[in-house]
């Protein structure tokens, strides 16, 4: 799958990625090697046809160029055998390509049946990712902003979105699936290489689409996996203020500043307990009730002068507690 490395000498100036080959990011999942091989097969097929077409064109241009003494010759205007050949042969090749492609696609969509597949709930929303791990081996739910998985274990991601369409893309795993609001979408993979790899949103979703990036961390063993998740996800055992600050950093920071500057949404500095004017002219006191409403149904009452572009959030009670504590701390 490093078949193109031979060309590297020619394009030596390109700074190659830290890992991976000229064409590909590292092969970090069970399907990566297979689909890369498919890519290479198509690539060389294309190169062969391309060289043939361009070579013949170039040859004819040189050999039959208009020049004194050269005159065009009448040749056959069609040749059935030739035309059938150059239709049927490529078609046959393409059917082979389709066959290989189908094999790997079926690998990609069917999680293994004979072993336990761990479910992770993925939520893509403007403009953050969150990953939820249920129960075993945790005490209750854990939610993390980065995706944690263990090497060589199969995972099924169950995805949804509360606002618009997002798409989860893991280049190192060669997988991608849209998160469509109003339904579940599923995706499975088995990581085969420990390390950290980027995770992108690839369906345009608004202003900060290009900042909707996180990381997938593939752990060597279950212990480091569990510890990392608890470290990131267990907010319950932290003091409310710290809890609120972590939630702010993960979810709100893209659009709301804490230094009083205007961004996509109003700044949080001094907002607690303030009377804000809404877009319909009414006045609203920023308190627990309004903050909760703004999180659950952001479009209901919008502060005047700001667009209606926030995504709805649902939190657990201890998380709300943290958010209120944090907002209160920004009062002065």
């Amino acid at each position: 799958m490093t078949s193109m490395t031979g060309l590297l000498g020619i394009i030596g100036s390109l700074p190659l990625a830290r890992q991976g080959s000229f064409w590909f990011p590292p092969q970090a999942s069970s399907v990566a090697a297979g689909t890369d091989l498919l890519y290479d097969i198509i690539l060389w097929l294309c190169v062969a046809f391309f060289v043939a077409i361009c070579g013949a064109t170039a040859l004819f241009v040189v050999k039959y160029r208009k020049r004194p003494g050269h005159k065009e010759e009448k040749t056959a205007t069609h040749n059935l055998m030739m035309e059938v050949t150059w239709s049927v042969v490529p078609l046959a090749l393409l059917m082979v390509v389709f066959g290989i492609s189908m094999y790997w696609y079926l690998e990609m969509i069917n999680p293994p049946k004979d072993e336990k597949v761990y479910d992770i709930t993925v939520r893509g929303q403007k403009w953050v990712w969150s990953f939820k791990y249920d129960g075993d081996p945790f005490d209750g739910q854990m939610v993390t902003p980065t995706l944690h998985v263990i090497k060589d274990q199969p995972y099924r991601l169950v995805m949804d979105s509360p606002d618009v369409i997002h798409s989860m893309y893991l280049p190192a795993f060669r997988v991608k699936q849209d998160c469509v609001p109003g339904r579940y979408n599923k995706l499975w993979f088995r990581p085969t290489m420990a390390g950290e790899f980027p995770l992108y949103c690839t369906e345009y979703c608004g202003d900060d689409h290009s900042n909707m990036i996180t990381t997938v961390i593939v752990h060597e063993d279950a212990n480091s996996w569990r510890d990392a998740i608890i470290k990131e996800g267990d907010l319950k055992n932290k003091p409310p203020l710290e809890r609120g600050q972590i939630i702010y950093e993960r979810n709100c920071k893209t659009c709301h500043t804490v230094d009083g500057k205007k961004s996509t949404g109003p700044s949080f500095k001094g907002i607690w307990g303030k009377e804000e004017e809404m877009s319909d002219g009414s006045k609203v006191l920023v308190d627990e009730a309004y903050v909760r409403e703004s999180l659950n149904e952001p479009g209901k009452r919008i502060v005047k002068g700001y667009p209606n572009s926030m995504t709805p959030f649902k939190f657990q009670d201890h998380e709300y507690e943290g958010i209120f504590a944090y907002l209160k701390s920004l009062k002065d």
């Binding site: 294309c46 039959y64 069609h78 390509v97 990609m108 609001p181 109003g182 369906e203 572009s309």
Partner: protein, 576 residues
């Protein structure tokens, strides 16, 4: 548009002093004209303006992408964050290029001019409808200008709900939806008109198989225009109603299904890709045959493969939705069907190469574009195979690989063919020759710039660079910088063309009747043609009977052989 045409000296080049450009004067006479040639010229100016506008957005995008830095939200440009600006620009770039340039580009400007003349006819079958198409186009274009003036739109040209329909910036959205709806009807009426013309206005003695292949390509294009465009019209109509009334067909919060929109959208927009490329393939057939002075090889295969592409185009739309939540079974079937598009496309390419065999190949500017087409369409078409195979598509979908692929096809091939066609028919349309040296330099700039701009994107995409990103991680910087340099060179090439073509319109050398020795019927008219197209009876002949013409050193162009004029009959023996 009409202004500045210099009177032709009487008697020069055998034409009369009157032609379609100076038959009547004044803006009003142009605005109410039913003459297909004038309408075509107005289209040409309009689509070129759209190209320049879309190109401006492209240059702006590439400039932003010079580095991948995440911008401070406080950095505002014209009151918007850089990301917001970028999102609006890529939307308008896509929408303007697709709806205002590529779809009407070749058919409405070149096709409109050439089609009736290649049939030896005076005009299209339904001239009033033709003028109406032009006005609908203008209205649509004005709507888009309105979108721009009102601060733009950031939904992407695909307008996927729920993102596109949930905005509080609803006036630009409503304008854009209406614009596409109206432009759709412009496109439908043009296609309808072309089909009727090809059926009813062929001269006696010219069968379907005697038509130039450009017309076959336009025929296939028109079929798609008529049968696919209404679907997007209604889809966007529904979006409009959904946006205003929340009826719950597409929006999930009211019980709708956003994936249904994507099905509807691509039911049109995939065939629309062939609306963009088929006319380009038609132009290519003319260029390769004429400048090789060879009867085109496999006429019927090329002609029918156009129709095949049009028909297959209707049954493969789902390959835009492999990861959108479409069912895996549907994905596999669509992937399978998609491979079949490759065959008629490949047949065309092989036949073009075979046409050049033992010809007499003259590297005039249009032919250079023809050769560039062969190369760029080769890459564009072949990279389609990666995307058609579903296992790879999952990885490549919505990355720069897709961007590079469709730019190779739509811009690389279609824009190239458009340039080739404009240069090829320029002497006929304006009666002037352009500067050959400058034209070759421009062609080189376009070719080099184009490759530089898009080849690195294949690698970036495969390495995982997502599309529609205003910033990116450092590992992609080098690809983007090559791309940006390429875009500037490409832009320079296009600007150079605009400059020397405009100059030649006013100051260029007089064009002979048939500067290239082409055999299709439009070359029997004067350059520029008479208001009624032909002043003498047309000698009906098949499209590639080159031996009916011989070079005349006095005029610098080709003239019909004496015996052909006298007998009024083609002397060629080869038939399709």
């Amino acid at each position: 548009m009409a202004g500045g045409v210099v009177e032709k000296p009487a008697g020069a080049y055998g034409g009369s002093t009157k032609n379609y450009l100076n038959e009547t004067r004044g803006i009003k006479n142009w605005l109410i004209t039913l003459d297909h040639k004038r309408i075509a010229l107005m289209y040409l100016v309009a689509v070129t303006s759209a190209l320049l506008l879309g190109g401006f957005f492209a240059i702006a995008l590439r400039t932003v992408l010079w580095d991948g830095a995440v911008r401070d939200p406080q950095d505002l440009f014209l009151g918007l964050r850089i990301e917001q600006m970028y999102n609006r620009y890529f939307t308008l770039h896509g929408a303007v290029m697709v709806f205002l340039f590529i779809i009407p580009g070749i058919p409405a400007s070149l096709g409109n001019f050439v089609l009736p003349m290649q049939l030896g006819a005076k005009d299209l079958a339904l001239p009033r409808l033709n003028l109406m198409s032009l006005y609908l186009y203008w209205i649509g274009a004005i709507f888009f200008v309105g979108v721009l003036a009102l601060g733009g739109l950031d939904t992407g040209w695909t307008l996927y709900p729920p993102y596109s329909l949930g905005r509080d910036t609803s006036i630009p959205l409503i304008l854009a939806l209406s614009a596409v709806f109206i432009l759709g009807f412009s496109s439908i009426l043009t296609g309808l008109n072309f089909i009727v013309t090809m059926h009813r206005l062929r001269p006696p003695g010219m069968g379907m198989y005697d038509m130039p292949l450009f017309l076959w390509a336009l025929y296939a294009t028109s079929l798609i225009q008529v049968l696919a465009t209404p679907v997007i019209g209604l889809t966007l109509g529904l979006s409009l109603i959904e946006h205003v009334f929340h009826i719950g067909i597409f929006l999930p919060e009211y019980g709708g299904d956003p994936v249904l929109y994507q099905h509807f959208f691509w039911f049109y927009s995939h065939p629309a890709v062939y609306i963009m490329i088929l006319p380009a393939m038609g132009v290519q057939s003319e260029l390769i045959a004429t400048f090789s002075r060879k009867h085109v090889f496999g006429y019927k295969a090329i002609g029918w493969s156009s129709i095949a592409i049009a028909v297959i185009g209707f049954i493969v739309w789902g390959h835009h939705m492999f990861v959108a939540g479409q069912s895996p079974a549907a994905g596999l079937i669509f992937s399978f069907l998609t491979f079949f598009v490759a065959i008629p496309s490949a047949i065309k390419v092989f036949n073009w190469v075979a046409t050049m065999y033992k010809g007499s190949i003259e590297l005039k500017t249009p032919m250079l574009y023809g050769l560039a087409f062969m190369y760029l369409f080769g890459i564009g078409g072949l990279t389609g195979l990666f995307l058609a195979s579903i296992a790879n598509n999952v990885h490549l979908h919505d990355t720069y690989f897709v961007i590079a692929h469709f730019h190779m096809v739509m811009v690389g091939s279609t824009l190239n063919a458009f340039f080739g066609g404009v240069h090829y028919w320029w002497p006929k349309m304006t009666g002037r020759m352009y500067n050959e040296t400058l034209a070759k330099i421009a062609c080189l700039l376009v070719f080099v710039g184009f490759n530089l701009a898009f080849m690195p994107q294949f690698v970036a995409g495969t390495r995982g660079m997502p599309r529609r990103y205003a910033n990116y991680s450092d590992e992609f910087t080098i690809f983007h910088q090559w791309s940006t340099v390429g875009a500037y060179i490409l832009g320079a090439g296009v600007l150079l063309q605009v400059i020397y073509l405009t100059h030649s319109w006013f100051k260029g050398a007089r064009a002979p009747k048939n500067p290239w020795g082409a055999a299709s019927l439009e070359w029997q008219s004067d350059s520029p043609p008479d208001f009624h197209n032909f002043t003498k009876p047309v000698v009906v002949m098949a499209a590639y009977d080159y031996e009916n013409w011989e070079y005349d050193a006095n005029t610098g162009g080709y003239e019909l052989r004496k015996e052909v004029v006298e007998t009024g009959r083609s002397i060629a023996t080869v038939h399709n």
